[in-house]
C-alpha cells in the first residue's frame, strides 16, 4: 500500500500512489476545474485585442481562482475611478510563475496537452494588450469629455445668468478629473478647462421659480471682502488662538488631578462594605466634634455615646460651678 497522499483537486486522501491521477474520478474533477476556469480565460483573451475601460463599480473587486497556481487572482485592474476589464487576470496569465505552475499542474495531473496552450498568455500578447489598454483609456476620456460638454450645455440652458449662490457643481465634472490624473497630465490644463465655465457668475438675483412653498427668510449675503470663509479655505474661528488664556494652555487634567484619579481607581477596588466606606474625609467639623466611640460605660448604641458624653460633661460642669 502506498503512503497516504492528498489530492488537492479532488480534495481527498488516497492510497493508490501514482495510480490515482489516471482514475476516472480524478479526470472528471480535472475536467470540471478547467471548464470553470476556461470562460474567464477566453474572455480575457478577447480583451487583448480590444481593452475595455469602465467606471469603477464594487463588482470589479471580484477575484478568480487559478487552479494551476492555487491562488486567488484579481480579475480586473482598477485605479481610482476606473477599471480595465480583465487586466489583472491577463497580467497573471502572462507571468512566468504561472507558466511554470501550469506546466507542473499539467504533468502531475495528467491533463490533455492541447488544452494547456489555452491557459497561457505569451508576453507578446500581453504587450499587445497594454497598447490596446492605452487606446481604451483615450477613448474613455473622449467619451467623458463629450458627456461634460453635454452637461454644460444643459446647465447653461437652465441658468442663463449663471448658478445661484451655494449651488453644487454637477457630477460629470468630477469624473473628468480622474483620467487626467491617470495620464499624469499637468494640473494647469485641468484648471484652465474649468475656468471658461465659471466666467459668467455674477451675484444672481432671486429667480421666482426656485421658491416653492413657504418662503425662507433671507438674512443677507455673507461675503465680507478681506475675511475668508469656508469656501475660500480660511482658518476656522475655533482654531484662532485667543489673545489670552488664563494660566497655561494645556488641555486636560493637571498632574495632581491625575494622581487623584488614580487614587479613586484604587478605592473602587476595595470592598464596598468595609467599615467607614462612606466616611467623608474632607468634611469640615466644628471644634466640638467627637468621633463615634463606643464608650466603656455607655448604655445604648454607639451614636448615643457622644450624646451621653456631652450631657455628662454638662452635668459635671454644672456641679463644678455649683460647688464653687
Amino acid at each position: 500500500m502506498a503512503p497516504a497522499q492528498r489530492c488537492p483537486l479532488c480534495r481527498q486522501t488516497f492510497f493508490c500512489g501514482r495510480g490515482h491521477v489516471y482514475s476516472r474520478k480524478h479526470q472528471r474533477q480535472l475536467k470540471e476545474a478547467l471548464e470553470r476556469l476556461l470562460p474567464q480565460v477566453e474572455a480575457a483573451r478577447k480583451a487583448i485585442r480590444a481593452a475595455q475601460v469602465e467606471r469603477y463599480v464594487p463588482e470589479h473587486e471580484r477575484c478568480c481562482w487559478c487552479v494551476c497556481c492555487g491562488c486567488e487572482v484579481r480579475e480586473h485592474l482598477s485605479h481610482g475611478n476606473l477599471t480595465v476589464l480583465y487586466g489583472g487576470l491577463l497580467e497573471h496569465l502572462a507571468s512566468p510563475e504561472h507558466k511554470k505552475a501550469t506546466n507542473k499542474f499539467w504533468w502531475e495531473n495528467k491533463a490533455e496537452v492541447q488544452m494547456k496552450e489555452k491557459f497561457l498568455v505569451t508576453p507578446q500578447d500581453y504587450v499587445r494588450f497594454k497598447k490596446s489598454m492605452v487606446k481604451g483609456l483615450d477613448s474613455y476620456e473622449e467619451k467623458e469629455d463629450e458627456v461634460i460638454k453635454e452637461g454644460l450645455v444643459s446647465w447653461k440652458m437652465i441658468f442663463p445668468d449663471g448658478p445661484r449662490q451655494g449651488m453644487a457643481v454637477p457630477d460629470p465634472e468630477e469624473g473628468s478629473s480622474a483620467p487626467r490624473s491617470w495620464k499624469g497630465m499637468n494640473s494647469q490644463v485641468a484648471s484652465s478647462s474649468q475656468q471658461p465655465s465659471n466666467l459668467d457668475l455674477p451675484a444672481a438675483p432671486e429667480l421666482d421659480w426656485m421658491e416653492i412653498g413657504p418662503s425662507l427668510t433671507f438674512i443677507g449675503h455673507q461675503d465680507i471682502p478681506g475675511v475668508g470663509n469656508i469656501h475660500s479655505g480660511a482658518t476656522p474661528p475655533w482654531m484662532i488662538q485667543d489673545e489670552y488664556i488664563g494660566g497655561n494652555q494645556e488641555i486636560g487634567p493637571s498632574y495632581e488631578e491625575f494622581l487623584k484619579e488614580k487614587e479613586k481607581q484604587k478605592l473602587k477596588k476595595l470592598p464596598p462594605d468595609r467599615v467607614g466606606a462612606n466616611f467623608d474625609h474632607s468634611s469640615r467639623t466644628s471644634a466640638g466634634w467627637l468621633p463615634s466611640f463606643g464608650r466603656v460605660w455607655n448604655n445604648g448604641r454607639r451614636w448615643q455615646s457622644r450624646h451621653q458624653f456631652k450631657t455628662e460633661a454638662a452635668a459635671m460642669k454644672q456641679s463644678h460651678t455649683e460647688k464653687s
Partner: protein, 149 residues
C-alpha cells in the same frame, strides 16, 4: 524611640488625624512619653511602623494635652491604644473587660503585627468588633475602675 513617631498635641490635631486617615487603621497611643510602660510600647510601635505603613498609621497622643479625649475615651490607665478605621472606632475583644482600647504594652512585635492585621481584615469586611489574636497570657491585666464608685 518616641521621637520617631508623629505626635499629636491638641484636640484639633487628633480630629484631623481621625478624619484624614483613609483606608488604613489609625493607631492612637494615649500616654506620656516618660512613663516606662509607654516607652516599651513606643519602642514596639516605632519598630513596626515601617512594615505596617500600608495598613496602619500610628500617632502618639499626650493625655495631659488632650483632656477632652482623655475623658471621652475614658482613659484611666496609660498607655492606652485606640484603633480607628475610616473615622469609625474599632473594638477588639482581648479577653479583658474593656474592648474599646488596648491597655498596657505588647509583649512582642509579632503580637502587635497580628493585631493590626486582624483589625484591618475585619474592617475590610465591615466588622466593627474583632477577636484579638494575641494569647491571653500576654495581655496585661488591670482592674477596671467602676464609674462613680
Amino acid at each position: 524611640m518616641s521621637f520617631l513617631l508623629p505626635k499629636l498635641t491638641s484636640k484639633k490635631e487628633v480630629d484631623q488625624a481621625i478624619k484624614s486617615t483613609a483606608e488604613k487603621v489609625l493607631v492612637l497611643r494615649f500616654g506620656r512619653d516618660e512613663d516606662p510602660v509607654c516607652l516599651q510600647l513606643d519602642d514596639i510601635l516605632s519598630k513596626t511602623s515601617s512594615d505596617l505603613s500600608k495598613m496602619a498609621a500610628i500617632y502618639l497622643v499626650d493625655v495631659d494635652q488632650t483632656p477632652v479625649y482623655t475623658q471621652y475615651f475614658d482613659i484611666s490607665y496609660i498607655p492606652s491604644t485606640i484603633f480607628f478605621f475610616n473615622g469609625q472606632h474599632m473594638k477588639v475583644d482581648y479577653g479583658s473587660p474593656d474592648h474599646t482600647k488596648f491597655v498596657g504594652s505588647f509583649k512582642t512585635k509579632q503580637d502587635f503585627l497580628d493585631l493590626i492585621e486582624v483589625i484591618y481584615r475585619g474592617a475590610m469586611r465591615g466588622k466593627l468588633i474583632v477577636q484579638s489574636p494575641i494569647d491571653p497570657k500576654n495581655i496585661p491585666k488591670y482592674d477596671l475602675l467602676y464609674q462613680d464608685i
